[in-house]
Amino acid sequence: MRPLSRRLPSLRWQALGWQALALALVALVIATFAHNASHNLAARHIATGFGFLRQAAPIPIGETLLSYTPSVSSYGRAFAIGVLNTLKVAIPGCLLATLLGTVIGIARLSPIMLLARLAAIYVEFLRDLPLLLQLLFWYGVFQTLPAPKQSLQPLPGVFLSNRGLRFPGLLWQNGFALVLLAAVAGIVFAAILARRAALSPRRRLRLAALLPIPLFPALALAAVRPAFIVAWPTLHGFNFQGGVLMSPEYAALATGLILYTASYIAEIVRGGLVSVSSGQWEAGAALGLPRSAVLRLIVLPQALRLIIPPLTSQYLNLVKNSSLAVAIGYQDLVSIADTTLNQTGQAIEGIALIMVVYLAISLAISLAMNLYNAHLARTTR
């Protein structure tokens, strides 16, 4: 319908009037808030501005991906660690939740009755309980594991105790950076080759396109020959040393987020699969393809177009939900910002930082998924 305002001049003035009024209202609210804030902050002797980011931060941080010393390193550095800690749980979380959700979503449509029922119960149960309750439960589970001395050892060198999960890791060597770079280059190169080879009917050629993925890092390894030093966790007194530590807080948060988000993703995957008409299944079966091949080659690619947009919002939810970390003591961005604003009193700046970071992450995910969706729309139609 053509806007009324363009049809009648009097309505155009009316439209301008309404918009001016709305703007004036918003400006008035902001001005009142700013006036009150400046008055209140002055009365409470709270500083303003982002200068505090350069001050030393007396926050003890358990898990850091950057070097950090309490009372020496700055608040800015603490914030950066918080952002990295958020990403550290969000990125593997999205990947594993997608994997688990897809499996459960497919299981819900399985012809095996019991499997389908169990998958349905999983989805119903996890979706109807608050995530926070699930996180507190998992945190309790990880905390009531035995002490390090009696820790469970599911695999040799892997220790599960109330101090978290310890497993052997590689000590970082100088040559590793090059190998990592070669691996990334290999994947990129393989992607380019695969696109070229996709049109070829020869299966061998399509497989050959994947060769750079193992080949590139192998060549880099041969060239620099970094020493592989494995750090094994060993028990010293009451705790472990060496190896890689996954803290109980991180483990609980990751477990809770993955299981919860997977229940939503399962429903999205199921919805996508159901929307593909049953004729597609039948056509695949008529070609003599086994069920798994029909699913992988015919149904999933078509379902993907419907799955991607709601999947994006689940990724966004997972990232936002990772902020519940503060309730179980995992030091993500929100937890560190919360401590900061309690110490400095600069609530406005602290909350603004949280919001900006989350908005940036949300925008980045939306953008990436929209690009992928556009790519799908181009290639499948």
Binding site: R12, P130, L316, K320, S323, V334, S362
Partner: protein, 354 residues
């Protein structure tokens, strides 16, 4: 071919074995090795040594008996706790009425107003001979229900305005403001909004305005719910056939008239299932007030497990909380699904008498 035929029974067998194992462990913990009653110690409080001995392999059910009232009602005066209990009943009746299609008429609005007035009287008291109870003494399930329901009710008009504003043609500034509000709120975690209400809002208001923490959190919820509901309403507006807009215009109705009489009644009816789903989300999300220290159901449950005598029996309490949250969410989800089917039916004579 034969091998493939074996897959299904083998998977079923494996699942049955796993299920039996899980069920056995659960029954062993919850019933077989569980502690059901405790002796009293010198000061007539339960002696939890028996539970402590069973910790890890047997449940301690006396913790539920001891903490049940606290978990449900928080610090509400013990002798007055029949009032929040009635409030819970009020909410259940209100939900029941609102989810029955034959009650979907303007007078339902009146029912909501009356229900909230009744809930206010029961919770606060101070009239009709009821003792006054301040907000900081409220707690437990009524807080959870109030935060979610009042949040939804107050956010609803806001959401309709924002959704209409987002679709307003020829008003770019208003549309931009609506988009900015919705995307900003949806892009940040709820916790940041709750922090905003608990530490930032007091800075923005005149010092004389000392608003209770609960009311500030309620404001944050309204702001949060408004953005999500606006998207739901917008989906309903978008799904309406163009013919409805054109027919309204052809009748010579003004924008306000056509919106009120033609567009909204149809659009809102279509999104009721989605609305219920969004409400289930809010109901679960209210648990986040734990982080800013408001005594909702989650916080009272958590607090109950922190008392030294009862420490370590979190799972029993969490099981109770899970049962309460699950009961509300599951029933509402079921109703929402039924409504969805009815609304999707080809002939939509919902109010048709049976």
């Amino acid at each position: 071919m034969n091998a493939r035929r074996l897959v299904s029974p083998l998977v079923t067998l494996a699942l049955v074995l796993i299920l039996a194992d899980v069920a056995w462990h659960f029954f062993s913990w919850a019933i077989w090795h569980a502690v059901w009653t405790l002796p009293e110690n010198a000061s007539h409080a339960p002696n939890t040594d028996l539970c402590r001995a069973a910790l890890g392999h047997g449940a301690c059910w006396p913790v539920i008996k001891e903490k049940f009232r606290f978990i449900l009602f928080g610090f509400y005066p013990y002798d007055e706790q029949w009032r929040p209990a009635l409030v819970i009943l009020c909410f259940v009746v209100l939900f029941g009425l609102s989810l029955a299609p034959r009650w979907w008429r303007p007078s339902l609005l009146l029912v909501w107003v009356v229900a909230f007035a009744l809930i206010g009287v029961l919770m606060w008291g101070g009239v009709l001979g009821l003792a006054f109870v301040a907000e900081d003494q409220w707690g437990g399930l009524p807080i959870t229900l109030i935060l979610a329901t009042l949040g939804l009710a107050a956010a609803f008009p806001l959401a309709i305005l924002v959704a209409l504003a987002r679709r307003a043609e020829g008003l770019p500034v208003i549309r931009l403001l609506a988009v900015a509000y919705v995307e900003l709120i949806r892009g940040v975690p709820l916790i940041s909004l709750l922090f905003m209400s608990s530490v930032m809002l007091p800075l923005f208001l005149p010092p004389a305005w000392d608003i209770d923490k609960l009311i500030r959190a309620q404001l944050a919820f309204v702001l949060f719910a408004g953005a999500y509901l606006a998207e739901v309403v917008r989906a309903g507006l978008a799904a309406l056939p163009r013919g409805q807009y054109e027919a309204a215009a052809a009748l010579g109705l003004s924008y306000a008239q056509s919106t009120r009489l033609i567009i909204l009644p149809q659009a809102l009816r279509q999104v009721i299932p989605m609305l219920v789903n969004t409400f289930i989300g809010f109901f679960k999300d209210t648990s986040l007030v734990l982080i800013i220290g408001i005594f909702d159901l989650m916080t009272t449950g958590r607090t109950a497990t922190l008392e030294p005598a009862w420490q370590g029996f979190g799972n029993e309490v969490y099981l109770l909380l899970a049962a309460i949250y699950f009961a509300f969410c599951f029933i509402m989800a079921r109703i929402s699904r039924t409504l969805e089917r009815r609304l999707a039916a080809p002939h939509r004579n919902i109010e048709e008498p049976a």
